[in-house]
C-alpha cells in the first residue's frame, strides 16, 4: 500500500515517512540483537566487527566511537539538538565533525549503543554505513540549494543514492570502503576527484540532470586523482551505471591486501580503458529497466524536501554595506565567512569550528544547542556540516548578519578564518585513534595559535593546511596546499611536510619535501615556508599558485634552514 505522503516540514532535508521510520526502528532492533549475540558469544569479535562497523561503531584506542551519518551534511535544528543531547547524556559533552560531513562521539559504551541508535531513529537519523567496507555516507556541496554558482541542487540525487545504497544486498561486503561525492556547481567544492566515485551534475538539454563521472580517486596510502569515466551519464541511468561500476569492483577488486583493495588500485591495474570496457559490458548486460531512475521518482524525492520561503530582502545589501564600514572586525568576518547566495539579500554563512588554539571540528553540546537556535532564528531551521569540519547556515538575510556574528563571537564561534591557514583540517590522531603514529591535535592547536592574528592570516590569504596523524590520510594531507603527515621516527612522534596539494577542479597531490621533524620544529618550518611565500609571491598570487610556479625547492630550503 502506498503511504500517504507526509508533507515535508524541514527545509533542505529529506522528510521521512512512516515507512522510513519503521525501517530505522527495525534496523535498531537488528543491531540490538547483534549486540546480544556478541555478548552471548554466538558471534565472535571477528564476526561482530563488520556488523558494528556497518552501524558506525568503531573500537578506538580508549573507547568505542560512534559515527553518526549526516546525509550530505544536512541537519535540521531539531536533529542538532538530538546530537547535543547524545553528547551530553552518553559522551563527554562534545562531538567532532568529520571530513565526511558526519559527527563522531568518542566516548561511547557498547551497551548504550542500541539506545543511542533508537534516539537517533526518533530524530530520523542513523549511523548506517558510516564505516565498514560498503558505500559510505554520500557527501555533497555545503552550499547546495543556496550557492549562486549552482546549476543543480545535488541533494536530491544524493538522497536517491543514499536510499539506493542503504543495506544494498550486493555491495555490503566490498573489498574496501566506497565513497561517493556529488556536486551541482561549476566549482567543485566536494573534492570529486578524490573520491571512489565523484559525480558532477549539470542540466541536460531535456532539463534533466546529466553527470560527469570520475572514478578511482582517493587519498590514503596511495593518493590518486580520479579519472573521468563518463562525460554524459543521463539521470535515468544513474543507478544502473553505478551498479555496473560497483559490480566490477566487487568482482575484481583485490581482497588479498587491504592497502591495495580500493577501486583506485583496480582502475590502475586494469587501465582506464579496460576498466571502462568491463563497466560497459556489465551495463549493457544488466536489466536496465529494473534500475531505471524515472523522472517521477526523482520528483517524488524532491517533493520530500521543503524549500525555504524567501522574502524580498534586496534592500539588505545596502544596509550591510553600511554596517561593514563601521566595524572592521565584522567586515573581515563577512569577507571570509559568507558565500554568495542565489537570492538577492541573502548569503550563506560558514561558522568556523576552528577558534585560535582550538581542536578542529570539535563542538560542545552547548554550542550545538546554540547553533540549532541560530538556525531557527536565521536560516529556516537548517544547518550543514562541511567536509572542512565547519558548520554552514545556508540562507541568512544580510540584515541579520551583524546580530548573528555578535552572538557567534560571544560564544567562541565567530572566528574569521574560513579558507585561511588556521581553517585546519585534522584527523583525531593518536589522542583517539589506534592506527595513528602521531597526535594531530596538539600540532594543529600550535599552528592555530601561531597564526592566530587575523591581520597576518589575511596578509597570507587563501591557504589550506591539512594534518593527518598517519599514512591513512584521514586529515587529507595530500590535498592540502600545505600538508602535515604524522610518522613514527624511531619511537618518537614526528612530522613530514607536503606541499602543492589541492582538491578542486585542478586537483593535485602534495609531495613530501623532506625528512620528518619534531612537532615544534615542524611548526617553525611551516612559519618559514609561509614567510618564503610572502617574500616570493607575485601580486595577487595565492600560496598554491606560487608553489606551482616556483616548485618545492625554495620552500624546502626555508623549511630546513637552521635559525
Amino acid at each position: 500500500m502506498p503511504q500517504t505522503p507526509t508533507p515535508p516540514t524541514d527545509v533542505g532535508r529529506y522528510a521521512y515517512d512512516a515507512v522510513d521510520r519503521t525501517f530505522l526502528k527495525q534496523r535498531v532492533e537488528q543491531f540490538r540483537d547483534q549486540v546480544q549475540r556478541r555478548i552471548s558469544g554466538a558471534l565472535s569479535e571477528d564476526e561482530f566487527k563488520p556488523l558494528r562497523l556497518m552501524n558506525g561503531l568503531y573500537l578506538q584506542l580508549h573507547a568505542y566511537m560512534l559515527r553518526v551519518a549526516i546525509p550530505y551534511g544536512i541537519l535540521s535544528a531539531g536533529q542538532m539538538r538530538t546530537l547535543a543531547y547524545i553528547a551530553r547524556r552518553y559522551d563527554r559533552d562534545y562531538g567532532h565533525f568529520t571530513t565526511r560531513q558526519n559527527i563522531q562521539f568518542n566516548w561511547i559504551k557498547l551497551e548504550d549503543t542500541p539506545d543511542i541508535l533508537n534516539i537517533l531513529a526518533d530524530a530520523e537519523m542513523h549511523a548506517i554505513q558510516t564505516s565498514g567496507n560498503c558505500i559510505r555516507n554520500v557527501t555533497s556541496d555545503q552550499f547546495a540549494g543556496a550557492a549562486r554558482d549552482e546549476v543543480l541542487d545535488p541533494r536530491v540525487h544524493a538522497e536517491i543514492l543514499r536510499q539506493w545504497s542503504t543495506l544494498h544486498p550486493e555491495f555490503t561486503f566490498l573489498p574496501r570502503k566506497f565513497k561517493i561525492a556529488i556536486s551541482g556547481s561549476a566549482q567543485d567544492r566536494v573534492a570529486a576527484r578524490f573520491h571512489d566515485i565523484g559525480l558532477l551534475a549539470r542540466k541536460g538539454d531535456n532539463g534533466r540532470a546529466v553527470f560527469e563521472v570520475y572514478v578511482g580517486g582517493g587519498l590514503g596510502r596511495t593518493p590518486v586523482i580520479g579519472v573521468k569515466l563518463r562525460n554524459d551519464l543521463p539521470e535515468e541511468d544513474l543507478i544502473a551505471y553505478l551498479e555496473a561500476v560497483l559490480r566490477v569492483y566487487n568482482a575484481y577488486g583485490r581482497r588479498d591486501n587491504i592497502y591495495k583493495a580500493r577501486i583506485k588500485i583496480l582502475v590502475q591495474a586494469l587501465g582506464l580503458d579496460a576498466f571502462r570496457d568491463e563497466v560497459n559490458a556489465e551495463f549493457m548486460a544488466m536489466d536496465r529497466n529494473r534500475y531505471r531512475l524515472q523522472p517521477e521518482v526523482v520528483e517524488a524525492i524532491r517533493a520530500r524536501f521543503a524549500s525555504p520561503v524567501f522574502e524580498d530582502a534586496s534592500a539588505t545589501s545596502a544596509q550591510l554595506a553600511e554596517q561593514v564600514k563601521t566595524d572592521p572586525d565584522f567586515a573581515t568576518w563577512v569577507g571570509t565567512n559568507t558565500h554568495p547566495h542565489q537570492r538577492d539579500g541573502y548569503c550563506s554563512v560558514t561558522i568556523s569550528c576552528k577558534p585560535a588554539g582550538g581542536i578542529p571540528g570539535d563542538i560542545t553540546s552547548a554550542q550545538m544547542d546554540l547553533l540549532a537556535n541560530l538556525a531557527d532564528q536565521y536560516s529556516f531551521g537548517e544547518l550543514r556540516i562541511t567536509h572542512l569540519q565547519n558548520v554552514v547556515l545556508g540562507h541568512v538575510r544580510k540584515d541579520g548578519l551583524l546580530a548573528l556574528w555578535q552572538v557567534l563571537t560571544a560564544n567562541g564561534l565567530g572566528t574569521a578564518n574560513v579558507g585561511m591557514i588556521t581553517d585546519i583540517i585534522a584527523c583525531p590522531g593518536l589522542d583517539y585513534c589506534a592506527l595513528a603514529n602521531a597526535r594531530s591535535i596538539p600540532i594543529a592547536q600550535k599552528l592555530s595559535q601561531r597564526f592566530s592574528s587575523v591581520t597576518l592570516q589575511h596578509e597570507i590569504g587563501a591557504l589550506r593546511l591539512n594534518i593527518s596523524g598517519c599514512i591513512n590520510a584521514c586529515g587529507h594531507h595530500h590535498a592540502g596546499h600545505i600538508g602535515i603527515l604524522g610518522v613514527d621516527k624511531r619511537g618518537e612522534e614526528a612530522f613530514q611536510i607536503t606541499l602543492g596539494g589541492n582538491a578542486g577542479e585542478d586537483a593535485s597531490i602534495g609531495q613530501i619535501i623532506g625528512s620528518a621533524m619534531s612537532e615544534d620544529e615542524t611548526v617553525d618550518a611551516i612559519a618559514r615556508i609561509v614567510d618564503t611565500y610572502l617574500v616570493q609571491r607575485k601580486p595577487g598570487e595565492r600560496f598554491i599558485e606560487t608553489c606551482r610556479r616556483l616548485g618545492a625547492a625554495p620552500f624546502k630550503d626555508a623549511a630546513y634552514a637552521t635559525a
Binding site: 500500500m1 502506498p2 503511504q3 505522503p5 515517512d17 515507512v19 519503521t22 525501517f23 527495525q26 534496523r27 532492533e29 537488528q30 540483537d33 547483534q34 549475540r37 554466538a42 558471534l43 564476526e47 563488520p50 556488523l51 567496507n133 536517491i160 536510499q163 539506493w164 545504497s165 542503504t166 543495506l167 544494498h168 544486498p169 550486493e170 555491495f171 555490503t172 561486503f173 566490498l174 543507478i239 559490480r247 566487487n250 568482482a251 581482497r255 548486460a285 544488466m286 536489466d287 529494473r290 534500475y291 521518482v297 517524488a300 524525492i301
Partner: protein, 163 residues
C-alpha cells in the same frame, strides 16, 4: 552439514566429487574444470558446478541450461564476491536452477544473499534455525530492486521484503 532452503532444512541429494575421482551416478557437483566431463555423463542424474570466488560466472554461460545447481563459496564471510556471482547468474544469465552457498557466512548476510538470488544455504551443524528465521524477518523493507522482483511499496525504489 544442514542444508537450508525456503526456511527449512532439506535433504541434500548432491554429492561433491573431488578432482581425482571418477564421476558417479546420481546428483553430482563438479568443479568448473570438470564441467565438460560432467555434461558428457548422459542421463545418470543431475549436474551441478562448484564455482570458486575468482572464477567468472560467464564460464557457465553455454552450460547453464543443462545445470540444476551452481554452488558458490565464502572462504570468509567478509569476501563478498559470491553476492555478485549469484546476482549475475540470475540477472545476466537468467539461471533458474538452485544457487547454493557454502563456507563461512553469517545469518546477518542471509537476507542479502536471498535478494541476490541464492536459494540454498549450507549452514553449520547445530545451527539455531530461529536465528536465521529472525534475520530474515527482522527487516521488512528494502530501498532498492533485486532479482527477486519484490512488490513495490509505492515510493521511489522501495520494496516490501517477503515474509
Amino acid at each position: 552439514m544442514p542444508l537450508l532452503e525456503n526456511a527449512q532444512i532439506i535433504e541434500d541429494s548432491w554429492t561433491l566429487v573431488p578432482d581425482d575421482q571418477p564421476l558417479p551416478d546420481g546428483d553430482i557437483l563438479v568443479p568448473l574444470s570438470r564441467l565438460a566431463e560432467g555434461l558428457g555423463r548422459n542421463g545418470k542424474g543431475r549436474l551441478g558446478v562448484v564455482l570458486k570466488a575468482d572464477e567468472r560466472v560467464d564460464a557457465l554461460r553455454e552450460a547453464l541450461p543443462r545445470l540444476d545447481l551452481v554452488s558458490l563459496s565464502f572462504s570468509i564471510f567478509r569476501d563478498g564476491r559470491a553476492f555478485t556471482q549469484a546476482r549475475s547468474l540470475r540477472e545476466h544469465l537468467h539461471f533458474a536452477g538452485a544457487v547454493r552457498v557454502t563456507g563461512h557466512f553469517l545469518p546477518d548476510q542471509y537476507e542479502f544473499l536471498l535478494r541476490c538470488g541464492v536459494t540454498q544455504f549450507v549452514i553449520p551443524e547445530q545451527s539455531d534455525l530461529a536465528v536465521w528465521k529472525k534475520a530474515h524477518e527482522l527487516v521488512t523493507l528494502a530501498y532498492q530492486p533485486s532479482v527477486l522482483n519484490e512488490r513495490q511499496e509505492g515510493f521511489a525504489f522501495r520494496r516490501f521484503l517477503s515474509p
